[in-house]
């Protein structure tokens, strides 16, 4: 009998121990700190964060950039406009412009570890493909951020207003959202393209952003609809807070998790959208370069010159994959119900702490 009781006590302390581990971890931390901690612990998300930051530094410093009147030189010795001669040495029979990038050391019969003159090879007319891919990646990253910022802002504003005020404002805004959803962005693109010519990649990103906010606004609206009924909003209202203050100081900080997560997903979708549009000829058009455009230009040369196809694709995948993982990490970090799996190590350390305390 006594033994049974002991077992029961043991299990309750174990259950309590599990909670204690979590409580111990979050003791004395602000919400932001807890979220940050959870995010840092997400291995995939942290790796992706390093990859994407490193990749952006690598990509944006590679080529000469014009910032206003100043020209910042890049570290790569070619630019997209340069036309070096097509080289054929070291290539297979009948091929020119093959990549010089090699990982096989000399003693194994390779060219030795190194980038060489044209690490990603050359295109049809001899332009350095590394420079082209770098430019394309710059475009893609830029489009991604512009769409993320514009779409995120618009979606948050529309969703917040309609969720907070409800009534006819909500009805009008939500019907407007439905209306935007039905209009295909490609049409707008071709109208603009026809009347104003090619306005460049910045404008493309801008108008895509104007159409990308619909999903986010529905999400934010739902979040606002639930949050505005909560006690802390009533408390703020009783204390005399204005609507503006309630929205920005009380509700928005609680909805920020949902917003950030869906903006990251919006951004990873934006990269694919840009590549898809460019592939169809409605996005970035030559002579400008984008990753989607490069793939569509050289998809037929896959059997003969596969490097023209591989590298832009690898860059698209790397960027989109990293953003997706960061989004996943953020989702886990912001989810209050999310509980990390308790490892043996946690239990051990919790036990030792308890023993030390006793």
């Amino acid at each position: 009998m006594a033994k049974k009781k002991e077992v029961a006590v043991e299990t309750t302390t174990q259950d309590g121990g599990e909670n204690a581990i979590f409580n111990k971890e979050t003791e004395g931390l602000s919400q932001g700190q807890i979220v940050l901690r959870r995010f840092v612990r997400h291995r995939g998300a942290m790796t992706s964060l390093f990859v994407i930051v490193g990749l952006m530094l690598f990509v944006f410093t590679a080529l000469d950039q014009k910032i206003g009147p100043f020209k910042v030189p890049g570290w790569w010795h070619y630019n997209t406009e340069d036309l070096p001669e097509l080289r054929s040495q070291g290539c297979k029979e009948g091929l020119v412009g093959c990549p010089t990038f090699s990982l096989r050391p000399k003693f194994l019969g390779g060219a030795g570890f190194g980038l060489g003159e044209h690490p990603f090879g050359q295109d049809d007319i001899g332009r350095d493909y590394f420079a082209l891919v770098m430019r394309g990646a710059q475009r893609s990253v830029m489009v991604m951020f512009v769409i993320g910022i514009i779409g995120g802002t618009l979606g948050t504003i529309v969703g917040a207003i309609s969720g907070f005020y409800r009534g006819w404002i909500d009805a009008v805004l939500m019907r407007f959202t439905d209306f935007i959803i039905t209009i295909p962005a490609i049409i707008i693109g071709s109208v603009v393209g026809y009347h104003f010519g090619n306005l460049g990649v910045g404008f493309l990103a801008f108008y895509l952003g104007l159409f990308a906010w619909t999903g986010l606004s529905r999400l934010v609206r739902g979040e606002f609809l639930t949050l505005r009924e909560r006690e802390f909003v009533d408390a703020a209202r009783v204390a005399g807070a204005s609507n503006r203050r309630i929205i920005f100081k009380h509700i928005l900080p609680n909805a920020v998790g949902v917003i950030i997560v869906s903006v990251t997903l919006l951004m990873s979708g934006a990269i694919l959208l840009e590549t898809a549009l460019s592939y169809l000829g409605f996005g970035v058009v030559a002579p400008d370069v984008s990753l989607g455009l490069l793939i569509s230009q050289y998809q037929d040369s896959f059997t003969t010159r596969p490097w023209l196809f591989w590298y832009p694709g690898l860059f698209i995948i790397t960027i989109a994959l990293s953003i997706n993982f960061i989004g996943d990490g953020l989702r886990d970090a912001f989810d209050p119900r999310q509980r990390r799996r308790i490892t043996k190590k946690d239990r051990e350390s919790a036990k030792t702490v308890k023993k030390a305390g006793a």
């Binding site: 039905t182 059997t303 989109a320």
Partner: protein, 513 residues
Amino acid sequence: MVAYIFRRLGILSVILFGSSFILYNLAAISGDPLEGLRTSTAPNAKQQILSLTRSLQLDVPPPLRYFLWLKGILGGFAGHIDFGKTRDAQLVSSAIATAIPTTIRLVFFATITAIVLGITIGIVTALRQYSRFDYAMTFVSFLMFSLPIFWVAVLLKEFLAIQFNNFLANPQIPVGWIIGLSAVSGVIWAAVISGDRKRVWQIFAVVAAGTAALLTLLSVTSWFIKPGLGPIVVFGISIGIAYGVTQLSTGLQNKAALRSAQAMAVIALVLYYPNQWLFDNHAGWLLILLQLLATIGIAFAVGLKFAKVDRAPTIRTAAITGGLIGVITLLDKFMQTWNPYMSTDAVNFRPIPTTGQVNPLLEPGNFWFTTLDILVHMILPTIALTLISFAGYIRYSRGTLLEVLNQDYIRTARAKGLNERTVIMRHAFRNTMIPLTTIMVVDFAGLIGGAIITERVFGWIGMGTLFNKAINTFDLNLLMAVFFITASLSVLANLVADLLYSALDPRIRAGKG
């Protein structure tokens, strides 16, 4: 409820009216359909301009022309819908009528495969949360999310079509491949079934050895040139299906269900040769439909025979088993058709095509040849679309199931002593399907819009191609027709999804809030 539906429909038509009006005018100012002709030096250019202007009513300004177009559409209520004419003076409705079946053929199977695969994998990952399999599948689904479809398409064309066709010239699987594939399948199954370390290694060994033996057998017998299952293998698979379906549907302890499922397998074996005779002499979709009805009828009879009480689950089990066995039987027939099909001049031993919907050189007449031809043309696009879209289902079903498993009613179900199968299949899975169903409805409606890029990469002429063509040639009527169909379907699907949600989940009321 009825009032709610009508109110929603009213709002929908206002939205559709507004967006179609704006789109019509935007598209009208996006380009000049006569531009090519104006600069043309052809002697009859002027005449062409005149006739085109008349047939497309280009002399009416776009905002007014919209109402002419709308009049044609609203004629749909009077039984005669008129989408106008295309630039080549053809009826838009006939162009649409040929495009829709193509699009449905392209995306329907891909979506079904994506849903089945995605939900299955999603559920397994949720049940094995934080396992290696879960992590691996998370990675795979994010990778799929990040793939541009045209990039995947080119890879599939090269590695699945061209290389496989090359392989068929001498269908001996290299030893390295056999070892690699066996190891991979061993790892996957070990991860899915999981258990303690010893069990994992046992599963790995059994599966890997089995795969290696199977691949060697296929390689030695040149199975890829002359495939087929034969009655014995079909029966073996049928018995496997019988056990699997029974386990999922009612649990193996339900003897009546298990018996009737086994009976279905035996009946299929008995009917194997009669079926072959029917396939050879009365081929056609009608036959397959009749066989399906017969299968359901047999399942009914078998279920009634074996179950004395609680008959519905038994009949359901028998019917599902019978349907799956039917699919295997059909597959067997297609495998037998494979070699004669490959030997035709039109195919010439390169069966997996990289583009197109059908092989134009193939002589019509043989039902099995033409159907197999359609199927092989569907392989690559279906795989590409499935790869892209099933990741979403994995993530969604995993998340939903995890949420459901945390609910109190699951704890109650476990606490009252139900076995794990009942808890998962009856309590958790059904509730997971509620939000998934609504997503599926919206997805299916979105499919009619076609997969513009997939259609282009694989050379199919469906709705996406029409849309693309209409934009590029400023073909206003065609563009508006595609838009009108896709947009109305998508807003209707949203309405259906809302109604379905409230029908499936009594906690949610449509029409409130």
